[in-house]
Subunit: 153 residues, 4 copies
Amino acid sequence: MSAPDFHPADARYAERVRASFARQTAMATIGASIVDVQPGQVAVELPYAAHLTQQHGFLHGGILGAALDSACGYAASTLMPAEAGVLSIEYKINFLAPAKGQRFRLVGTVVKQGRTISVVEGRAYAIDGDREKLVATMHTTLMTVTGRDDVKH
Amino acid sequence: MSAPDFHPADARYAERVRASFARQTAMATIGASIVDVQPGQVAVELPYAAHLTQQHGFLHGGILGAALDSACGYAASTLMPAEAGVLSIEYKINFLAPAKGQRFRLVGTVVKQGRTISVVEGRAYAIDGDREKLVATMHTTLMTVTGRDDVKH
Amino acid sequence: MSAPDFHPADARYAERVRASFARQTAMATIGASIVDVQPGQVAVELPYAAHLTQQHGFLHGGILGAALDSACGYAASTLMPAEAGVLSIEYKINFLAPAKGQRFRLVGTVVKQGRTISVVEGRAYAIDGDREKLVATMHTTLMTVTGRDDVKH
Amino acid sequence: MSAPDFHPADARYAERVRASFARQTAMATIGASIVDVQPGQVAVELPYAAHLTQQHGFLHGGILGAALDSACGYAASTLMPAEAGVLSIEYKINFLAPAKGQRFRLVGTVVKQGRTISVVEGRAYAIDGDREKLVATMHTTLMTVTGRDDVKH
């Protein structure tokens, strides 16, 4: 997926998104970092770690989902006004292949930006040497929230 | 939800499920433990931790999702033959309220046990003092896998 | 599922819901009728019809989904103010068994009623003689809309 | 979405898919026809009809979902062996905008073709004069079934 031609409402969207991501302690705990921020599209990277596996030694699908959820949420956030917050209403993740690899690239791309409701699609790629493989897809619905101090940025 | 009247194919299902959960290093990393194993139903507990938050200081929804995914997967696993493995095909999680609380209870309950495909519903409750609140629901599809050494238990 | 103890904001909710359902020409076309309206729960019935099948002669899953979507939407609608409208944001349907039967009972039950966002679960049962079998589950997110003339009731 | 470079296992896939679609009486009832069959991608068209609406006079979302489900299922079917059948395990549909238009184009595109499990994404476009607008997205999981006489083609 490439991002459609979106125009952010907030010129400093990238700075705002990176600062908010940095406040997600869960992302630091799992080792995820934000590697690209474009209007309507955010990429996150997550190295494989032996303390984040399921029972067969692969990356736990739910951990992959958490990182992909953040990529998708921030993709929506790039297009929102500076003062707005974003809430995940729901997401669905399909696992296409075992999450085998040295690291993972999680990309969220906005499909529809609405005033209240946005829809974002995510792709998770496992990177194994010089091969990149699609291992999961996500589809998520987010809500723009304004005027609530507890849900900002 | 209470679990329907399921009859496990493997008398030692609880022991097997607990041993497999113990091999999920991701669950230890986020502090999740398995607290109940019944035929068709598994409960996991997750204490709030400051290193697992999203940007507003609440538990990250994706981390909640990871723990709930494990509860649901093992709920399906209780009903499977001893030698079978279980793979998550997909899950959907709806966030109903912010994940505010001292700890979280994640319960997976089998809705349909099929030979190949099972469907499990999950509930996430936030426990705040003596109040328990439903904060997320999950619906997941799992596949029984046999004869693959890399997907066992 | 039994409906939680919901208190409708509109005393004439049942009348309003039945009148709105009657305006869904799609429901008449597929032969669906509303058979029960409670606070937070609506049941729809759909007889099997030879002109509504998939390629193997069973009821088309998408048609079942359409009727179940209506049951879920109106379940949310029972709890809304008289002047509000309801929009489906998304739904997910899991098919558990082939839709074999003389008729189908579709039940939507509200899980969470929010000011803006509601979450509803649906169950589809196939009725074959005196046996009733769960054949599909639905999970849907709906939005309460006020002040829009094109989305009312 | 454009379809990846898929290679059908059955040279006569298009003929087989069109013949199977023709047996879906539900599609004839709602007026849907198959307009394009490529390896891994199928397009269906559905004209607006006054007998297929929800309560505000727009096409019923569930009917749109039924036609899109067929497009997605047959997209998966193009890549399957001649003797295999395909079963929908689950689908999720997100409604992005009201389904306003003279007709609708429903496109299913395979994301992952597996031996047993395939994942397909769908797009629904409303065509209003010479404008085409994305109004819904679908994400669906399908299972390849062989050796069952009641699930063939």
